[in-house]
């Protein structure tokens, strides 16, 4: 674990901060940047000397073990936690500026919605707070895109976890942000909701939105992201692809192992297909 007092080096796996395509730094500052970021809880430094940069339109996945600081990192990047060392910058300016919040979207572990308001009311409220020109129309459009048209007038307290995730994403996108930060988007979702969410992230990528999300699902990270970084010991390093040996040095998270053969046979007998194996 790196300690304060050490010279904070480049915590992005040794990669210098540069444009995604490897050429010299672009004239415009990156939408999201952390320079020597440090954050502690009490005397324990969770992040230290962390350097990170996400150029416009890039999708970055952050993986790491439980307690490695993924949520802390994303909240620092969102401006919700004040760094104890270093800086977070949005479009070249210090994070948290009120004028720049309209370009950022953040979805945390919780939905950020009001339980006693309906989906439409929550979306309209968010649209008004972001100064969207037609809040009601935008809310209806997003509710339909999120597959929530049938639940638009239901209170958030009555929705399932998957529906709340959809509503949370809709709320974060109501103002068409240029940067979206998402903390573990796939947690607690069934296959259908996960596929829908992956489709939404892909759509955001195609629209040129800069994405940064944390996840435990390695295959999703590699499937969706342009760059996968592992958070370990308070710093980011490039992560190994999922087909690498779990014991390979530098692998950020242990890989999934195959299910026991007895279980596979029982599942096959019941007509189920285990991933990668025929029924």
């Amino acid at each position: 674990m790196h300690q304060p007092g050490e010279t904070p080096g480049n915590g992005d796996g040794g990669l210098p901060t540069k444009a995604w395509d490897g050429t010299t730094a672009p004239a415009e500052p990156p939408p999201l940047e952390a320079i020597g970021l440090g954050r502690r809880f009490g005397t324990r430094w969770v992040l230290w000397g962390l350097d990170f940069s996400a150029p416009a339109g890039q999708c970055v996945a952050i993986i790491g073990a439980n307690g490695s600081g993924k949520t802390t990192l994303l909240r620092c990047l969102a401006g919700l936690l004040r760094p104890h060392a270093g800086q977070v910058r949005w479009f070249g300016h210090l994070a948290g500026k009120v004028e720049l919040r309209g370009r950022m979207g953040f979805v945390g572990h919780e939905s950020g919605l009001y339980a006693q308001l309906s989906v439409l009311e929550n979306l309209r409220f968010a649209a008004r707070m972001y100064g969207v020109s037609d809040p009601a129309g935008r809310a209806e459009q997003l509710a339909a895109q999120a597959g929530l048209a049938a639940y638009a007038h239901c209170r958030v307290a009555q929705l399932s976890q998957g529906m709340r995730q959809r509503a949370a994403l809709a709320r974060a996108l109501v103002h068409s942000p240029r940067v979206v930060l998402w903390d573990e988007p796939f947690v607690g979702l069934d296959t259908q909701a996960t596929d829908w969410l992956a489709g939404q992230l892909e759509a955001l990528r195609r629209r040129g939105c800069t994405l940064c999300f944390s996840t435990h699902e390695l295959h999703r990270a590699w499937q969706l992201a342009d760059r996968v970084l592992a958070l370990s010991a308070g710093r980011l390093q490039p992560a190994s692809p999922p087909d690498a040996s779990p014991h390979q040095e530098g692998a950020g998270v242990p890989q999934a192992t195959s299910p026991p053969q007895g279980l596979v046979k029982r599942l096959a007998a019941a007509g189920c297909r285990v991933a990668g194996r025929a029924a």
Binding site: G79, R82, G105, S111, G112, L113, L117, V156
Partner: protein, 222 residues
């Protein structure tokens, strides 16, 4: 201004759909009022002295409950994080919460003033304008202080009731000033002393509101 109205409307609609504030506030007020009906050997004149003080103690306790519960709705579902990401200054958010809480406390005052007046034979309708000034300024002073401290403890997940404790030391002078002004408002003639207490309440309200607008950014910072 539009965002302020939007925030206040959201709070009022949420409270209407799932009353958190009103039942608890009304209960506190009624319990304190009921203490006046206890068969204690208190002279009517002493009741008239005691009534305004108990009234404002009830309002202070109810206001602390209102603040605590209004921020509880922000804690649910991580809504407070979403608010901090909106392009709106925390001063505006503070004012919106203050207005929402003040409206809730105003409703309670509308219930308790006539009730205490009846129980203590205090002719509070003698000078309605003066009494309204005391009610409004006392309300703003208490809720502005409570709202700032409520925002401060919002991030302290393990101390959800801490705002109530923090309000008490600074709330006591407000209660003293409001109680004295209420008692003097029941006199046949409004003495000079009444306006002096009203001025104190005005100063408390102005100072606490200004402090809230300035300090709320630091209070909510994690």
């Amino acid at each position: 201004m539009r965002k302020l109205v939007c925030l206040v409307t959201k709070d009022l609609v949420s409270e209407w759909r799932m009353p958190r504030l009103w039942p608890a506030m009304a209960l506190v007020g009624l319990v304190v009022a009921a203490s006046l009906t206890l068969p204690l050997e208190v002279l009517p004149e002493q009741k008239r002295q005691l009534g305004p003080a108990l009234l404002w103690v009830a309002i202070l306790l109810a206001a602390m409950l209102a603040v605590e519960r209004s921020f509880a709705s922000e804690r649910e579902e991580g809504a407070w994080e979403a608010v901090r990401m909106y392009p709106v200054g925390m001063g505006t958010v503070y004012l919106a919460k203050l207005l929402s809480n003040a409206l809730a406390v105003a409703g309670l005052e509308a219930l308790l003033f006539p009730l205490f007046s009846a129980l203590t034979d205090l002719p509070v309708a003698a000078h309605p304008g003066g009494l309204v000034a005391v009610a409004v300024l006392g309300n703003l002073a208490i809720t502005s202080l409570g709202t700032l401290l409520g925002a401060l403890v919002l991030g302290l997940r393990h101390l959800p009731g801490a705002s109530a404790l923090l309000v008490l030391p600074a709330g006591v002078p407000v209660v003293l000033a409001a109680a004295e002004a209420t008692r003097l408002a029941a006199e046949p003639l409004l003495a000079q002393a009444f306006w002096r207490w009203v001025q104190y309440l005005g100063v408390f309200a102005a100072v606490f509101i200004a402090a809230g607008i300035v300090l709320v950014d630091f209070a909510v910072e994690e």
